[in-house]
Subunit: 232 residues, 2 copies
């Protein structure tokens, strides 16, 4: 786990790209650090497909070496409002109303599954750097966004692969946003030229991907822009 | 990681079931220990589909609570003779000829991906017990079959889920075969009534799933039966 990647133009990174604000910033940071970036996104049975369209645009914009959308149906397991349309996405009027319990939008083991597939891909493209835009400050309380989870995943990954056994390879899970507020993430991205109008954070968008404005992701996003004296 | 599961009839287990000798024995052990078993298999782009048909039969035979075949295309990443038909599966005349290097049949991060999906499923069915028939003695040298990998995965899994944060849940990855020879695995299975003619180990079977007899999986299987004074 490394909050600030060291620039190395010869290195190849795998970047998880959802199409949201955080992953777009994360990709910008990896590019700025000089990595050749392979972006991966997931068609996992999420509530809407708008974010994947955004991911495709972002991947083009940041001129990635490749962009791959991986199909893995997590909706078959259920248990989350993000994969089960019969469950309602919680809405609030303000960030202050967001509780501390892990919400129903949590998707069981999602980041574990995504990082595992990123690991498989990284091994094949001989990358030792995976970037994920998790954040443990202005976030929805998901267990698999916490530093201790990322640290444990990295330790496991370094025992999982052929490269970890045969080579001198040490795989790093880069989490450049993990300790930033949403405002700091947006400030960082604006400094790197991220066009946030290309991103979509909403858990429950309306027609044409219009953000609902009241889910936790929307509220945290609004807070981030406000902290920068901006509105969208 | 626990080599010998404690019997607990009230507990639910998720059992990884490939259709091979090891996973069939592992399922028999989990059933014998009194677990209600949910079996999962993977259509991951493997060289042949015969093993999935065997997995279905085994699941029925052992009267599992459910059997689920999960689609996840690992062939899209390549890098293994088990997912890329253009790569040849290594063949030998005897176990003694099997080298110590990790062979081309290694599938990048396969067990990490499979266990991650088992973890997602386990969380939804409120299971804290995942069974996997990995073996680190008579095996193909895959890094993700080793005890240190399983131990690290378990540590990560116990930080990954809602259940691990909110409940008093400790998730165990059971590996009852990890320290057994192939002969000991077969002896154990025979004692539990496993019909090994239902299983398929071969990496490169011919028509109707006929084992090639010369891949590493076939050779190790033959060795196991021989150690029990048996042939198939």
């Amino acid at each position: 786990m490394s909050p600030s990647p060291v620039a190395d133009a010869t290195r190849v990174a795998v970047v998880l790209l959802s199409g949201g604000l955080d992953s777009a910033t994360c990709l910008a940071i990896a590019r700025e650090a000089g990595y050749t970036c392979h972006a991966i996104s997931f068609r996992y049975g999420q509530r809407h497909q708008y974010e994947l369209a955004r991911a495709e645009k972002l991947a083009q914009h940041f001129d990635v070496a490749s962009h791959r959308i991986i199909d893995i149906d997590l909706a078959q397991f259920g248990g989350s409002a993000l994969t089960d349309p019969s469950l309602e996405v919680p809405k609030s009027d303000s960030v202050a109303e967001i509780g501390t319990a892990i919400p129903i939008t949590y998707v069981p083991a999602r980041n574990t599954v995504f990082l595992s597939l990123a690991l498989a891909f990284a091994e094949v493209v001989e990358s030792r750097d995976i970037f994920i835009g998790v954040n443990a400050l202005d976030y929805s309380g998901y267990p698999d966004c916490r530093p201790e989870f990322i640290h444990a995943f990295q330790a496991m990954a370094n025992l999982a692969t052929k490269a970890s056994v045969e080579g001198d390879t040490v795989l790093t899970i880069h989490t450049p946003l993990i300790a930033l507020t949403k405002g700091q993430i947006i400030a960082k991205g604006l400094g790197l030229g991220v066009d946030y109008s290309m991103t979509l954070s909403c858990y429950d968008p309306g027609l044409e991907g219009m953000p609902c404005g009241r889910c936790h992701a929307c509220l945290l996003r609004q807070k981030g822009f406000k902290e920068n004296g901006l509105t969208e």
